[in-house]
């Protein structure tokens, strides 16, 4: 594989696994540094990456599709570390392809049930952060737990982020609204918001801000923030629907 292809592959791996564009570009640059390849210009977008370089006196451009973005920060982190090791000459170029393939195969660090327990905890804790009562904690926990189980099932069927968020948001908000209707808690806003907090797009939102603050990836940053705003809109619609039907 050509140096530019290899570096693009590493950059794509960071983007596809929820890393920021800053991190992806740093990994790409480090790998090119390891190959001692200079003069590569890269354009970053959320849907594609294009790299232009000179080869045999002619300008060549390689374009790669980013595809669906999932979350596995262990992979993104491993690629960043690999890039630094390549730049420092600690990893031979010949071993790079195998290393990238190894990172691609790394599983998510937590299994489905650990993530369900984490969703339950985020909802429980956030209800308290917002000043909810104990009933609010219980309702939000159950709502988030059930919603996260559905979410993991839907993701395994390769559904889009928008539809998964809508379905899980409606389910969690319905459960929370039902709990409120039955009188288990008097803290309406805390219960409703905490029940869907596990779906909040924190990663794209912060990656978007990181990209924008760096001033070099303004377009990607804006794309990420618009995506996050869209997910927020879906969540708000799910909450409004549940509140209208059940409260």
């Amino acid at each position: 594989m050509q140096p530019v292809d290899m570096a693009l592959e590493a950059g794509l791996l960071v983007m596809r696994n929820g890393g920021s564009t800053v991190a992806a570009d740093r990994s790409l640059t480090n790998i090119l540094k390891g190959y001692q390849k200079e003069g590569v210009e890269v354009i970053w977008r959320l849907d594609f990456i294009a790299a232009t370089y000179m080869a045999d006196g002619r300008s060549s451009t390689v374009v790669r599709r980013v595809g669906p973005i999932k979350t596995n920060l262990v992979r993104a982190n491993e690629v960043a570390l690999l890039g630094e090791r390549v730049a420092n000459g600690e990893v031979p170029i010949a071993a790079l392809s195998a290393e990238v393939k190894r990172i691609e195969q790394l599983p998510a660090p937590y299994n489905r049930w650990v993530v369900v327990a984490a969703a339950l905890s985020t909802a429980a804790c956030y209800s308290q952060v917002l000043g909810g009562d104990w009933g609010s904690l219980g309702i939000a926990s159950v709502a988030a737990c059930v919603g996260q189980v559905l979410r993991s099932l839907l993701y395994s069927r390769d559904l889009s982020v928008g539809s998964v968020t809508l379905l899980c948001g409606v389910l969690s908000a319905m459960i929370a609204s039902a709990g409120l209707r039955l009188g288990f808690s008097q803290s309406e806003p805390a219960t409703l918001i905490a029940s869907v907090i596990y779906l909040v797009p924190g990663l794209p939102l912060i990656n978007g801000f990181v990209d924008m603050i760096s001033q070099r990836y303004l377009v990607v940053g804006v794309e990420r923030i618009i995506n996050a705003a869209f997910v927020f809109l879906i969540l708000a619609a799910a909450l409004a629907l549940a509140a209208t039907v059940l409260l």
Binding site: A117, T122, Q128, L130, A237, A240
Partner: protein
């Protein structure tokens, strides 16, 4: 200033940050840092408000503190963004963001008095989301620049 209430809310924020770290697939070695950052963020903000700072200034100071603590806890060249994300989210304007969208939905369908109330809620929540986000960015940005500067100097001297 009720210290026990501040400690309790900081503990909830810390647990929230660590659990969020798991959802965002943060590597296991960063989970302690996310817990500590969540605690520090909420604690600094609440103490700041207790000392008479406005909510926005307290949020700015808290975001700054999160980066400094994360830099101390995480050895290596960079502060992992996921630790910062989980640390600052308890400071975030999530509730205001949801209220903003609710108000936006109501504005389109309300009339008379209800429309006025929805419009006021819309602008109030928009302002809250904007100033809180700005305060977080205002704390994170300079702190990250300072940490980067120190790390570069360390690299240069080693």
């Amino acid at each position: 200033m009720d210290l026990s209430a501040i400690v309790m809310s900081s503990l909830w924020a810390a647990l929230f940050a660590a659990a969020l770290g798991v959802i965002y697939t943060a590597p296991v070695r960063y989970l302690v840092a996310t817990f500590v950052c969540g605690f520090v963020a909420r604690c600094v903000r609440d103490v700041g408000i207790g000392w008479g700072l406005s909510q926005n200034w307290a949020t700015l100071v808290a975001a700054f503190a999160v980066v400094v603590i994360a830099a101390v806890l995480i050895r290596g060249r960079r502060v992992s963004p996921v630790v910062l994300i989980c640390g600052v989210l308890p400071l975030g304007a999530s509730s205001a963001m949801f209220n903003l969208i609710f108000a936006l939905m109501q504005v389109s369908s309300s009339k008379g008095e209800a429309l006025i109330a929805a419009s006021v809620a819309l602008s109030a929540n928009a302002g809250k989301v904007f100033t809180t986000s700005l305060a977080i960015a205002g704390g994170l940005g300079p702190a990250m620049a300072i940490v980067r500067l120190f790390r570069r100097e360390e690299d240069g001297s080693s």
